[in-house]
Symmetry: C2
Subunit: 164 residues, 2 copies
DNA sequence: TAATTTATTTAATTTATATTAAACACATTA
DNA sequence: TAATGTGTTTAATATAAATTAAATAAATTA
């Protein structure tokens, strides 16, 4: 099961080692320390430290404090669905940011060429490119509506958590 | 714009070079040959060939036949939303396959330990693990319902393509 | 069928990424 | 404050991935 989880996480862009760290924490009954994880996954402490940081950054793992214990302890966020939604929202926002930035830089220039262009060839392709950019905006709008609904939980109105 | 598209595609796990190939085709007015692409992206023909194959495999590019021309020509699938949905459905199905396989292998064993286990410690953790696996199945069920709605187009009932 | 063009595969190289041992910084306790 | 335990950085190494030139295979034309 841990291997399968690690492999599945690879699809989401994490390295198999990091996936195994998550898998080990997922099935652990208690919070684990860096050293305990290190032993179970057979990696160096530095690697585990980096992996844990990545997992914390993506909110898949959190640090817990155990009284009397000096070492840090970590637990896995066990709600796969939450992890999934977190991942997606982040990914979609990132995509939007990248494309939007480029659109804002290029669209005015193409717009100008399209309306005031001197050469026939130029105005024609500029007009065509503007259409493509308009399509891009619609696409970005759609994925943002999806992302927002994932973040707010509205998506569960359409796809309930439990099938009746 | 081509750079931005390439960068955005990196999020979806393709290499920037392959992203650029797609970007070039996306803004090209006509279908392009391998050599024309090669010149525009400044890569070796072999790399372009591999990149094109990857893009065809993921249905982001298709080969078109131009009469009188010997070389193959390629065009980009311009519907970002379709590309997005294709990608997701494939990804979610892959994830389901991986986890399901592991579940089917391990669940019966843990089930057995849970009910007929001799040691108290064992039966307790087995029962707990079974719960986790049940949660996994529910998660897989949810993402499959999402994937199916993406494939069938049902998702557009809840998230229409054009905002009114 | 031979000659030529085109696309793909292979093997080697380059490049990027992940991993680690060792050094460091920070904290805790005696 | 000294001594030890803990986590993170750093610099070097090992591993994996992408890229290419050259060889091969497939297709087209003369």
């Amino acid at each position: 099961m841990i291997s399968a989880i690690a492999q599945a996480m690879v699809i989401y862009g994490v390295t198999p080692s990091v996936g195994r760290i998550y898998g080990v924490l997922y099935f652990s009954e208690d919070p684990l320390t860096l050293d305990e994880i290190k032993d179970q996954v057979a990696m160096s402490k530095a690697s585990v430290s980096n992996g844990i940081r990545e997992l914390i950054d993506t909110e898949m793992v959190s640090k817990v404090w155990k009284k009397g214990e000096r070492k840090d302890h970590y637990i896995a966020e066990k709600d796969f669905l939450r992890n999934f939604l977190n991942f997606f929202v982040k990914m979609l926002r990132l995509e939007r940011g990248l494309i939007m930035k480029a659109l804002e830089q290029t669209e005015p220039i193409i717009e100008e060429l399209s309306t005031n262009g001197t050469d026939e060839r130029v105005t024609k392709t500029a007009t065509r490119d503007l259409d493509l950019m308009k399509d891009s905006r619609e696409y970005l709008d759609w994925i943002m509506r999806l992302a927002n609904s994932m973040e707010s939980g509205e998506i569960f109105d359409y796809f309930p958590k439990k099938k009746e």
